[in-house]
């Protein structure tokens, strides 16, 4: 049905060289970069996934055999090189362990994706792409896609301070206007991303859409900022997930009057409809267990640290 032979060989080739598909090898990390004490970037080789990935989608990673399935947004993908990039913030046991153990050459036990409904890029003429802290990474592919579709892109990114800034240049490249904010004023304007949004709204009265990604509290504030002017505002929700295929309902979120499963119906939703308080409550579901796991892991690291200090290059 209308596929050219070059397309066929293309996909077949991607299929043949994608890990866990035609060959049995695990997904292997090919590059790591540390952005700060808590934020790092991992790149892995998976041609099939790089080919399929679209802005707004995520993967689920199981770092090791006893590990948890954790969702991470696809922060970048390179179809030519066949690579997929994740940016991770070390917040708890799994992500801290990944920060310690994941280097170039480290195999990941499982990676599945892309998951979720891709972001709607559409025919917007003017958009604001907002990334708060780590959120800069997941909003990047959307900013790029908007730019490539011909839209006028205003980038607003915010960090707590200068030390935490990453991907500034990479992001700026796809923006027609660019605003960077910091809580302490050590870089860009002193203020929150909502201040950046306000600046943009003041200057432009014809903004079609605001896309905001970051911690729930930030996305809530962004949605409140755009609500009076009734500007379409899309946010990407990050509830606790298990399968990521719609099978468990653990990721359910309240959107307007209804319940949606973020992993298949989202993760992008209309920010003006999202019940953020509900989301923030549900993120506390396993707080006690998470604390226990992190403490136990930290203790085991200290014990192991005494016996054998971690060696090997940190790439």
């Amino acid at each position: 049905m209308g596929s050219t032979s070059s397309e066929r060989t293309d996909l077949q080739k991607a299929f043949n060289t994608s890990p866990g598909l035609e060959d049995e090898s695990a997904v292997e990390i090919i590059r790591r970069e540390d952005f700060s004490d808590v934020t790092f970037m991992l790149e892995f080789h998976h041609p099939m996934m790089a080919k399929a990935a679209k802005p707004g989608q995520f993967v689920i990673v199981i770092p090791q055999e006893h590990g948890e399935r954790i969702p991470l947004t696809i922060a970048d993908f390179d179809r030519k090189k066949g690579t997929v990039t994740l940016v991770i913030q070390a917040v708890g046991k799994t992500t801290k362990e990944m920060q310690q153990t994941c280097h170039r050459g480290t195999p990941l036990f499982g990676v599945v994706g892309p998951m979720g409904t891709p972001s709607h890029i559409g025919n917007n003429k003017k958009v604001v792409c907002v990334g708060g802290g780590l959120g800069v990474a997941p909003v990047f592919p959307q900013a790029r896609a908007f730019k490539e579709s011909g839209a006028y892109v205003i980038g607003v990114i915010g960090f707590r301070n200068k030390e935490l800034v990453f991907w500034e240049e990479k992001f700026r490249k796809y923006c027609d206007e660019f605003i960077i904010c910091s809580d302490d004023g050590s870089v860009g304007i002193k203020g929150l991303v909502t201040d950046g949004i306000k600046l943009a709204l003041k200057k432009h009265t014809d903004i079609d859409e605001v896309v905001a990604i970051g911690p729930p509290i930030m996305m809530k504030a962004c949605a409140e900022t755009t609500r009076p002017a009734n500007i379409k505002t899309t946010v990407s929700l990050n509830p606790i997930m298990v399968d990521g295929t719609g099978m468990c309902g653990g990721c359910r979120v309240k959107i307007g009057e209804g319940i949606k499963f973020a992993c298949v119906d989202g993760p992008d939703f209309d920010g003006h409809q999202v019940d953020f308080d509900d989301l923030m409550n549900r993120l506390k579901r396993f707080n006690e267990d998470e604390k226990k796991a992190l403490e136990r892991w930290s203790v085991s690291c200290r014990i192991r640290g005494k016996e054998a200090p971690p060696t090997g290059p940190r790439l």
Binding site: M1, G2, S3, E7, R8, D10, L11, Q12, F15, G20, L21, M48, M49, A52, Q57, I62, H66, G67, E68, R69, K93, T94, F109, G110, V111, V112, G113, P114, M115, G116, T117, V242, D243, G244, T245, G246, M247, C248, G249, G250, R252, K254, I259, F261, V264, D265, D278, N281, R282, K284, R285, F286, E288, D289, E290, K292, A293, R296
Partner: protein, 501 residues
Amino acid sequence: MAKKKTIRTIPQERTPIAHQDPGKRIKNFDEVALGYGLEDALNESERCLMCPETQCIPGCPVSIDIPGFIAKITAKDYRGAYDVLTQSNLLPAICGRVCPQEDQCEGLCTVGDTLEPVAIGRLERWIGDMAISEGWSNIPYREPNGFRIGIVGSGPAGIACAADMAKAGCDVTVFEAFHKPGGVLRYGIPEFRLPNAVIDAEIDALSKLGVRIKCNTLVGRLFTLEQMRNEMGFDAVFVGTGAGYPSFMDIPGESLNGVLSANELLTRCNLMHAGEFPDYDTPLHLGQRIAVIGSGNTAMDAMRVCLRLGAANVHCVYRRTRNESPARVEEIDHAEEEGVEFHWLAAPVEILGDDQNNVRGMRCIRMELGEPDESGRCRPVPVQGSEFEFEADMIVYAIGTNANPIIGQTSKLKLNKWGYLATDDTLATSMAGVYAGGDIVTGGATVILAMGAGRKAASSMKKYLGIRDTDSLHSTEIDDTITTLFGIDTREKNFARVRIA
């Protein structure tokens, strides 16, 4: 030849099966029903009357020759019994454990009119287990025919379809979204009812047929069905992605922490080993007084898992009565023995939380049975003014599932009005060369029905590809009235097919 058996001459008592003691078993995940020994099986096989007009076979969704395999047991030809079984059922060790036999074969057994019916399921399991321990498998030699088949989902429907296609000489690849194959058999049904070793053995048998299983592959998102048929070069595709998508009730309080679906609870425990947290990283945060809503197999499994993980009190809240419960009778009995408390004729109307947004209980209403509904079961009707509070620190929903949306979102396949994949009688979907079966077509059903659908689809796929189907058992049920065309069997389409490399 033995004398003709009559209802008076056969062993009157159904041969009991050994069980782990309830007090002991709620502390472990080992299998509850221990299975027959040789003497038990021989004794039970004697109870089959070998009716000339069999009642039991029509009760079996895949038409196993039941007296046939039991006769082989009586004759001590166990391998022969296995061969008879596997003509129709590829997974006897699994189906013997999880089929609702009382509603199927055993429910129609002639012996059951007077005595307890023959324990067909237990005999099936016994043979299935023997095959695993003896390493039997029936791998016919087939010339590779060059057809490439893609199977989406590794539940019973996908497994059955894959096996049949591989046996026909096709090159078969199964794609599974999870990191382990098996579908509900793996993530849903717990170890004490269906040990992982049994699933592993059946999956292993599939690999021996040359089937490749690719886990961590979300079809629809990593590649679409259209791409499978076109660029990736699959000559035919079977979709068996299961029902998934658990239902909630849309009552206040459902997003409180401590409210979850049985699917989530079971996946965390069975697939992710939450019971071994923190040795495994996935938490569950088990409650101490747990209410499970619903009374199907899923509810029973959820409750019995909770008991084994150490919950002090586990309650089942169901809006109908025990008689209408969709669960297998044995599972309800086992749950009861293990200390589950049943609250029939009650349903929640609101979930109640504390100031930390954790569940503290629910408000329920009493029900009474009214007129039968379309399903033939009595409709539960709320009793006005009968509301009461029920204390619980964890509430588990086991009230069924809806269609998983991913395939619908990512392909042009036609869906029916409930969102399940629409198929015709041959299980063909609206896309040429794409077939579907199991829960994604019917909604939540049973293992044997899913398997039967996988086999039926395989039979249709073979016809579609022009592979001669020697499996008459299944081709007859899907055959149209016209079986010959110009004197040539329509099933033999290969005379007309030119394969382009």
